[in-house]
Amino acid sequence: MKLVRISDETIDSAAELAPLAALGGGAVASFTGIARDDDGVVAIELEHYPAMTEASLLALMNEATGRWSLLGGVLVHRVGYIAVGEPIVLVGTAASHRAEALEACAFLIDRLKTDAPFWKKEHRADGSSDWVETKASDDARADKWK
């Protein structure tokens, strides 16, 4: 079971992860990225490259299933306006044993951060907004998997 999805509605983590727990494996790992309550930010705007986004998420998922023995994986990314406190991204992995599930989950979120065509803009209560800058630490974490 492999699922990737771009969503303009609130991500329901429990509903997305439930199928992973039903695959007969012993381990489900998940990561949820949340719009952080940072410095006056009230919402995050997520832009993406519609013609490329889904294919790029599927390529990451295929790389993960090629590298680790997974029973299933889920990758859901929100786009549009996202209020602080709401999920931006959900990664879920299922495997027979925990090492595979945990490592593949970390791999997927680390590589999504550097490879998938999404851009975040922070909107503040005073009406100002700024594009989020990349972090060198993201490149370092993604490089770890090479």
Binding site: E47, Y49, K113
Partner: protein, 93 residues
């Protein structure tokens, strides 16, 4: 007319995030001169088209590229491609 001058007429440029805002367009079709062979050539050529293009495409270290929806580098040849996307480093997740 050479084969290379045919595909060049059809190149669609798409812009995202800060680049889109600086250019003021989401996408445009451009005929490129025949000496524009690589992604990097195209960016240099675009920077000379207008002042807002100059600022959008000045700092190559803050630009990334996808050719026909595949991440590529400045050295990649445009030949045969339909769509070049130019954008800042991604910040999703």
């Amino acid at each position: 007319m050479s084969a290379s001058s045919i595909w060049i007429e059809a190149l669609k440029l798409v812009y995202f995030a800060r680049v889109r805002e600086a250019v003021g367009l989401e996408s445009e079709d451009r005929e490129l001169p025949s000496d524009v062979q690589t992604v990097g050539d195209c960016v240099v050529w675009l920077a000379a088209q207008a002042d807002n293009y100059a600022s959008a495409f000045a700092d190559h270290s803050r630009l990334r590229y996808a050719l026909d929806q595949q991440l590529v580098w400045e050295e990649t040849l445009l030949e045969g491609a339909d769509e070049l996307a130019i954008f800042p480093p991604v910040t999703g997740g």
